[in-house]
Every structure is written in structure tokens, then in C-alpha cells.
């Protein structure tokens, strides 16, 4: 009898500890703003000698997963024409929108943009900017369209902290997009 009472007490104590520990994990769900994303990549082509800007974008406003990308433009260029190419990266999942281009400029010695047209005759790219170590960056440059044709332009943002040497090799991709290209 005495033992039974002891056991009952122990059981009560156990149940009490069990329920005082309860917590609603739903109360602690928060939007995380420290998580950096690139949701939008825009290629801005300015025809040489003019002020005509044509922009082509990739947009996936909620990042990977969730909804599919909302925009993936075909780059349309004039044959045998020279363009100034500026690239803009945004994180549109945040309010206000986070401009990643500025952060890349600030840490330009850790980043390299790589433009790879296929076929190679589609377009010729020349870097127009340099970081403090005299390595190219690729946020601005010149793109010269070749003869009429179609193909792809691979745009890579290589993240190369402490390893940048001017070649695409080191680091890993932060952006890797194949834009369709039409040269008319």
C-alpha cells in the first residue's frame, strides 16, 4: 500500500514534468532575413553609341522550390553589333529588395562572372572591370554579337573566397544560368 502511494507520486511527478515542458513550436516560426538568396538575374545590354537598354531577366522571387521561376527571357540581339553588358543581381524575397550587385562589388575580389556562349561564334565577351588584385569581375563588359543565329549564353557567378586567380576554376557556382540567345 505504502509502495503504491510512492509509485503514484512518482507517476504524478513524471506527468507534471512532461506537461510543463510542452511548447508550441508554431510560435517560433519566423521569416529568416539572414538567409541570402539570389532570386533575380538581369542582363542589361546597351547598344554602343546609343542609350537603348534592353534587359533580359531570370526571376524566381521565392527562391529555390516553392513556385517555379516566373521569368526566363530569351536574349535577343542584333547581328554584328557591340553592346555594353551590365549584370544585376537582386534578392526580391526580402522587403525592401536586397541588391546583391552592391555586395558583389564590395567583395569583388571573391567573385567572378563567367560568360560562355555556345556556339562560341554567337557572341564575344570582353571584361570591362577589375578588382583590387587586377583580376576581372564581369559586372560590366562588352558583348559583341556575331552573325545571325541561335544558341545559349551560360552566365555563371563564381564565388571564390580566398581563391580567386582570374580563372573560373576555384570556388563554386552561386549562379549558373543558360539563357537562350537569338541573334538577328
Amino acid at each position: 500500500m505504502k509502495m503504491n502511494r510512492k509509485l503514484t507520486w512518482m507517476l504524478l511527478f513524471g506527468v507534471a514534468t512532461l506537461f510543463t515542458q510542452c511548447k508550441d513550436s508554431g510560435d517560433e516560426v519566423e521569416v529568416d532575413d539572414e538567409n541570402e538568396l539570389i532570386t533575380s538575374v538581369t542582363l542589361k545590354f546597351t547598344e554602343s553609341g546609343t542609350n537603348t537598354v534592353t534587359s533580359f531577366s531570370y526571376k524566381d522571387p521565392d527562391g529555390d522550390g516553392g513556385n517555379a521561376p516566373t521569368k526566363f527571357d530569351t536574349v535577343s540581339l542584333k547581328a554584328n553589333t557591340s553592346y555594353t553588358l551590365a549584370v544585376e543581381f537582386l534578392d526580391e524575397s526580402k522587403t525592401p529588395v536586397d541588391n546583391i550587385t552592391e555586395e558583389i562589388t564590395e567583395k569583388s575580389d571573391e567573385h567572378l562572372l563567367v560568360f560562355t556562349p555556345s556556339p562560341a561564334s554567337l557572341l564575344t565577351y570582353t571584361y570591362g572591370d577589375k578588382d583590387k588584385n587586377n583580376y576581372p569581375i564581369g559586372l560590366t563588359g562588352t558583348a559583341k554579337a556575331g552573325v545571325a543565329g541561335t544558341g545559349k549564353l551560360k552566365v555563371q557567378l563564381r564565388h571564390q573566397p580566398n581563391a580567386k586567380n582570374g580563372t573560373p576554376g576555384p570556388g563554386s557556382d552561386d549562379v549558373n544560368l543558360d539563357f537562350n540567345v537569338k541573334v538577328k
Partner: protein, 773 residues
């Protein structure tokens, strides 16, 4: 009538033996006690192996075997619900000068047997690692230490993260019982190793096959029991110091234990234990792997009290590890992965360093447990265990955020905090007619998970209640058991979708059953057959994953309509054990209905890092069938050959295809030479062995970036022995070299096989100093 005849016959044989050999008047007697409670065990069978003699313990747990000739005997005690106990008894000492039948001089050995209680189903194969076998694994991670058991392999992420795989199943399909409490961490992750310090345990056992009735959900592939020694009640101060050094990674491990009773206070016992581990970059045969160091600091304390039938144990342990993740395994896109694969070796070069930079994991696991039991005088027993676990996992990516103000916070990119409370009440009813024993139990689990950082899995609250009932019946050479269980689970998840909170509620319920039989044909030969079921509710990552899994370069998507998977496992084994030869052959067929897996989808998913192969969590029916064979043969005095074969075939029944990530078949051979005495040395041994792992040919076509690696063969050598410094102090020394010839290889189950070779030669030195009792 038959019975009488048998009785008369056996009496005749004994008296005959007596008449022929008048020296046979030795006897063995003793008492069988429960190691945990110290209470006598009634109705245990005590056998002399190879002699066909056996007795039962009486109501005070006593046994006596008379009329033995001088000699060496193997004594075995078997009790339903306990591990078998074996001891060699020497009845030869001094018999020549003393022997005289007229004077009734007897040679007597008083053997107290303390049986270790196990809740494992007795008809399922249970392999235990203890003593010297366990010592040889000291310093290794939990998963690594269990690799020597047939049918058990590991799934690895590099060399420092390894998860145990039983019969091809792992993660949420293998349950780990740490000191009687189900281990709850983030098991779903392939790079999340069990948060347990193996030095806490003096025995580690593996139950192969579904054991869902006794242990609840997740016990689909098997259960791993990690158990410390019983507390040293009323015993003098004792302890041990272990030092282990490994050449690869220049890793050092130090662990020590101090324990004893309390003088003047009867019934108390305590133990304190701590481990420190530090290692640097791992070396493959040709190059170092950058950032593969490890730093670990663990400790545990326990105390307990026993009085008559009452007992209480308190236990606290903390596991704290920081593991560097090979920086060359970081990829941003499929292109990055293909580039590393084509290169054949990592782009990131490194020398040796102890530094642990990014990426890394920082994990702590706290366990607080209280267990109390009471043996009623009539034989009933009630046990209640309550435990709290707090698992904190922080994962740091290779790259710090670009934004300096965020980067300066140095927050982990992923944080998981999992709190778990478990409650188990188990009632062992008193044996019915000395033949039927059983237990009824209620287990509850309450847990909540908080996650911050890059969205990966939702926050959740989970509650589970399970009720089970198992009965065992022993008659002559037969042992039967049957059991049933019912589980009910609720799960509420909370996550952010498009900056808004979305909550979902789930309920899962399931019935499980087990039925099995064991037949002891002779003291040498026994057979077991068990059919059991187990279930597992889909975990949150299977329900809600939605993003790129960078380790696998795959886009993985969950499915919130998944339902629980159920396993029906049939396992049969035959064991023959004699002094010189031991053979165990086991076969299993595990059929898993609604097996949850990642099914490749026809179209890739486009992300800003390019297109990734798309996989969706889907259910199928899978079969896992295989054979485990192990044998040890002492073919010449002191020379033993041990062979272990693990053979497994897994199949996706619904799609008529193979499954991915199934361990390749393997054969392990060891030749061991033992010297019981050599000068100051005791239990000296030298061994050499080979592990051959086959090429995994059974994979779905075009399912992987890199086909499974070729077969490989690794050689190893070991030597060791014990020196008795004094009566109460001894020193155990062991040396070993694994991957002796520095063979270049990659293993299919190592997720870093895309990036680098596996670990090269590793020499180790172990020293253990034991003092006190």
C-alpha cells in the same frame, strides 16, 4: 511413463560414470542474480556445454551441478529475457593430491552468475560487442565500432561522419537505444551521425530485423542497444583510463572512468566518465582532405540506489562535437559536381592542419534520465523510465553571408533544436507456472523541433503513445514468444511559405506484431525463427523537403500525403557452437510496404544555380533479402580463423527495379593467434585480416552522376595483450593498422565518393589502465 524411464536411464548413466571413474565428485554451485536489481532469478537454466547436463535454479536462484570429473567446463546460463551468460570453469586445480573418494573431498566452484537482462526478442539474432571485441574499436565513432558485426555496415559522409546500416537500412529505419532511452536527434539526415560517445558503453548490441513491438516506431531494419555497465553498488573505488592515438588525422582520444560505492552508505553506487577527442585533416593514400578535423568533448555521470526490491538510477550525459566537413565537397551546381568527378581528385589541395573552419557541424546532445523499478515479493516487477533529450545542431556553410553585418554575426546557416521527452512504464508480470513470462508497457514520446536559418524542415510538435504486450513461453527445448503493439502519433508542423506561416496537422496510427520460436536441439545447436512487423511514420523532411540537397546535387521535394511505411520481416538463424567451432547462419526477408524513397522525375528543376535532377519522395513496395554467415574455427591450438559474409539484395517491387544506396556485399576474414600466457603478458594475440567489398552492380540504370565504385580489398593487422601490474591494476595494450597497404578505394556508401578517395593507412595504439576492483 516415458518420463520415468528417462529419469531412471539418466540415473543409471550417472552412477555408471561414477562407478567407472571414482574421481568425479566435483561440483559447481552458485546463484543466478539479475545484474540490474541484484534479485535472484528463478527458473534459469544452467548448462554445461558439451556435457548434456543442465539444472534449473530454485526459488532462491540457487543451482548445483554434482558429480563432475575434474576438468575444464563451459558453463552457460539461459533465462528467458536475459542475455546468455557463458563462463569457463576450471575444476582441475589441485585435484591430484587431494583426491580421495572415501574422504569425500570435493572440488567445488562457487560461481555467482549475474545475468544481464535484455528486452530484445529472444528469437531474433542479437550480436553483442563487449570485452576485447569492443576494446579493439575504442576511439572510433559509434557507427564505425559496429562495422565488425555481420550484416552491419556504415553510411558515411567522409571519414568522420558514419551512420550504422543494418541489413541495408539506416537513419530513420534504425533505432538506437542509448542506455534504455530511444535516441532522438535529427536522424533523417544522411550526414547526421548518432550523438553518442561509445566510451559510455561496455556493451553494444545489434538486434537485426524489425523489432517494432518492443521498441516502437522506426525499428524497421533493427535496433542498436548501447548499454553501460551496471553501477558498482557497494563496491570499492575503481576506474580506468583509455588512451588511443591514430596516425591518420593525428588523432588522439582520452577517456577515463571513475566509479564506486559510498562507504558507510549501503546500496549506493556512482560513476563519472569523460572523453576528449581531437583530430586533424584525414589523409587518403595520395592527398590530405582539407578541413576534416574533429573535436569532441563528452562526459556522463550516473548514480543509483538499491534497497531490497527497490532501485533508482539517475544518469546524465553530454555529447559535444565539432566536425569539419571536407571543403572540397562544396558544390553550387551540377556543373561543379561534374567538374570534380571528371578531375578524379579534389580541386582543393591541403596539407595537415588541426584547424576546423567552414563548413562544419557543431552538435551537442544532452540526455537526462531517471529510472526506477520495484520488484514485488510475488515476482511482479514495475519499471519506470523518464528521460529528456536536448539535441542542438548547428551547421555552418562554406561561405559566410556576403553582407558584412550579417557575416559578422557568424550565425550557423542551419540550426535545429530538438527537445524530446520519453516516458516508459513497463510491468513484468510474475512467471506463470514457471514457464510463461511477459511484460506490458506504455511508452510516450513528446518532442518539438525549432529550426532557424535556411529553410529545410519545418518546426514541429510531435506526440506518440504506444502500448505493447509480449509473452514468452518456455517448454523443454522450445521457447516461444508473441507480442502486439499499438501506436498513435500526432504531428503538427509549422513553416513559412511566401513569408506567411502555414501549419499542418497529421495523425498516424499503427498496429505491430511479433511471433517467434527458438529451439535448442542440443547445448551446441540452436535455431531461431521470428516474424515481426515494424512501422515508421514519414518524417518531416520526407513530408516537406523543397529545395536543393547540395550534398547530393539533387532537388528533393517532399510529399505531405505520404503515409506510414510498414515492414514485415522474417528472419531465421541456426547456430552451432562448440569449443573449437562456431557457425551462425542467418537468412532474412524484409518486405517493406509503402517504402519511402526519392523517385527520379523525368524533368529537371530550374534554379538560379542551373537545372538540378528532380527527385520526389514517393512510396513503393521494397524487399530486402539477404544472408549473414559467420564462423570461427580453431583449427590448430591457439590459431583461429574467423569469416563473416554479408549478402544483401534489395529490390523495388512496384517498379521492377533496384534501389539506390544499398551496401555492397562483403566478406571479412581474420586469422588470429592467441597466447594465453607469455612471461608477464596475458591474453596475447596477433591477428591479420582482409575485408573484401564487392562492386555494387544492383543499382537502377542512369540513377547517379557516378556509377558505383569498383570492388576493393583492404588488409589489416592487430596485436595486443594484458599485463597485470598488481592484483588490482592491469594494463591492456593494443596496436592495429587498417588499410595496411594504403590502398586507393572509394566506397559506394560514402557520400564523398564523388569528390575524393577514402581514408588511407591508419595505425593506432591503444592503452588502457584499469585499477581497483
Amino acid at each position: 511413463m516415458k518420463k520415468y524411464f528417462f529419469l531412471i536411464l539418466s540415473l543409471a548413466v550417472i552412477s555408471l560414470g561414477h562407478a567407472q571413474n571414482p574421481t568425479c565428485a566435483c561440483f559447481i554451485r552458485g546463484i543466478v542474480k539479475d545484474q540490474h536489481s541484484g534479485q535472484p532469478v528463478v527458473g534459469a537454466t544452467v548448462l554445461l556445454i558439451g556435457k548434456n547436463t543442465g539444472v534449473f535454479t530454485d526459488d532462491k536462484g540457487r543451482y548445483e551441478i554434482r558429480n563432475l570429473c575434474p576438468g575444464t567446463y563451459q558453463l552457460e546460463a539461459r533465462i528467458v529475457g536475459y542475455n546468455a551468460y557463458k563462463q569457463t570453469i576450471d575444476l582441475t586445480a589441485g585435484h591430484e593430491e587431494n583426491f580421495n573418494l572415501e574422504e569425500q573431498e570435493v572440488h567445488l566452484k562457487d560461481v555467482e552468475i549475474t545475468a544481464h537482462r535484455t528486452d530484445a526478442p529472444s528469437s531474433q539474432p542479437l550480436t553483442t560487442l563487449s570485452g576485447n571485441d569492443l576494446e579493439q574499436t575504442r576511439g572510433q565513432a559509434l557507427g564505425e565500432s559496429l562495422k565488425g558485426i555481420t550484416g552491419v555496415t556504415t553510411m558515411q559522409t567522409g571519414s568522420s561522419i558514419s551512420k550504422p546500416v543494418i541489413h541495408g537500412l539506416h537513419s530513420n529505419r534504425v533505432l538506437i537505444m542509448n542506455n534504455g532511452v530511444r535516441q532522438e536527434g535529427q536522424q533523417w539526415g544522411s550526414e547526421h551521425a548518432p550523438e553518442i560517445d561509445p566510451f559510455v558503453a561496455t556493451r553494444m548490441s545489434v538486434i537485426k530485423g524489425a523489432a517494432g513491438v518492443r521498441y516502437g516506431s522506426d525499428a524497421i531494419g533493427g535496433v542498436i542497444l548501447v548499454e553501460p555497465e551496471e553501477l558498482p553498488f557497494n563496491k570499492p573505488l575503481s576506474g580506468e583510463v583509455n588512451l588511443v592515438g591514430f596516425s591518420n588525422g593525428r588523432q588522439g582520444v582520452a577517456s577515463s572512468t571513475l566509479q564506486g560505492g559510498v562507504k558507510g552508505l549501503s546500496g549506493f553506487g556512482w560513476r563519472a566518465q569523460g572523453t576528449i577527442k581531437r583530430g586533424g585533416n584525414i589523409r587518403t593514400p595520395n592527398y590530405f582532405l582539407d578541413n576534416t578535423g574533429i573535436s569532441e568533448k563528452n562526459f556522463s555521470i550516473g548514480a543509483g540506489y538499491r534497497k531490497k526490491g527497490f532501485g533508482i538510477d539517475l544518469f546524465y550525459s553530454r555529447f559535444d562535437t565539432k566536425i569539419g566537413i571536407f571543403s572540397g565537397s562544396h558544390i553550387g551546381s551540377v556543373t561543379d559536381l561534374l567538374n570534380v568527378i571528371n578531375n578524379g581528385e579534389p580541386f582543393v589541395k591541403s596539407g595537415f592542419s588541426y584547424k576546423i573552419g567552414r563548413p562544419n557541424q557543431n552538435v551537442t546532445h544532452d540526455l537526462l534520465k531517471a529510472e526506477t523499478h520495484y520488484h514485488f515479493k510475488d515476482g511482479n516487477r514495475l519499471q519506470w523510465t523518464i528521460a529528456q533529450q536536448i539535441n542542438n545542431r548547428n551547421e555552418y556553410d562554406l561561405h559566410v553571408p556576403r553582407n558584412d553585418s550579417i557575416a559578422s554575426l557568424n550565425h550557423p546557416e542551419l540550426t535545429f533544436k530538438l527537445h524530446t521527452l520519453t516516458n516508459d512504464v513497463i510491468w513484468d508480470h510474475k512467471p506463470i507456472a514457471g514457464k510463461i513470462s511477459g511484460q506490458i508497457g506504455v511508452s510516450t514520446l513528446y518532442q518539438y523541433n525549432l529550426m532557424t536559418g535556411r529553410p529545410l524542415i519545418p518546426n514541429f510538435n510531435q506526440f506518440n503513445i504506444g502500448i505493447f504486450w509480449i509473452e514468452r513461453y518456455v517448454k523443454n527445448d522450445w521457447e516461444f514468444e508473441a507480442g502486439a503493439r499499438y501506436d498513435y502519433r500526432t504531428l503538427s508542423t509549422h513553416r513559412i511559405v511566401s513569408r506567411k506561416k502555414v501549419s499542418n496537422d497529421f495523425t498516424f496510427s499503427n498496429g505491430s506484431g511479433t511471433i517467434g520460436a527458438t529451439r535448442n536441439f542440443s547445448p551446441n545447436l540452436s535455431a531461431r525463427l521470428n516474424a515481426g512487423t515494424a512501422w515508421r511514420a514519414p518524417n518531416v523532411s520526407e513530408l516537406f523537403s523543397d529545395g536543393v540537397h547540395h550534398g547530393a546535387a539533387a532537388f528533393e521535394k517532399g510529399d505531405s500525403t505520404l503515409h506510414p511505411e510498414k515492414a514485415l520481416n522474417t528472419i531465421a538463424s541456426v547456430k552451432y557452437a562448440s569449443e573449437k567451432l562456431t557457425i551462425e547462419i542467418g537468412g532474412y526477408y524484409n518486405y517493406i510496404k509503402d517504402f519511402i524513397y526519392l523517385k527520379p522525375q523525368p524533368d529537371p528543376i530550374l534554379t538560379v544555380r542551373g537545372a538540378f535532377p528532380y527527385f520526389k519522395y514517393t512510396q513503393t513496395d521494397a524487399s530486402f533479402k539477404g544472408i549473414d554467415i559467420s564462423g570461427a574455427w580453431q583449427f590448430v591450438k591457439n590459431l583461429t580463423i574467423t569469416s563473416k559474409l554479408s549478402y544483401l539484395r534489395a529490390y523495388d517491387k512496384r517498379n521492377d527495379s533496384y534501389l539506390v544506396m544499398i551496401p555492397a556485399n562483403r566478406l571479412d576474414n581474420q586469422l588470429k593467434y592467441e597466447l594465453p600466457e607469455l612471461g608477464k603478458w596475458h591474453n596475447l594475440y596477433f591477428s591479420a585480416g582482409n575485408l573484401w567489398v564487392a562492386h555494387q552492380k544492383r543499382v537502377p540504370p542512369a540513377s547517379d552522376f557516378l556509377p558505383p565504385p569498383a570492388a576493393y580489398s583492404l588488409w589489416n593487422i592487430q596485436a595486443g595483450g594484458t599485463i597485470h601490474i598488481s592484483e588490482k591494476q592491469q594494463l591492456e595494450v593494443g596496436i592495429s593498422v587498417t588499410n595496411l597497404f594504403n590502398t586507393v578505394y572509394r566506397d559506394y556508401m560514402n557520400r564523398f565518393r564523388y569528390y575524393s578517395d577514402d581514408i588511407g593507412r591508419n595505425a593506432s595504439l591503444r592503452i588502457k589502465w584499469k585499477f581497483g576492483a
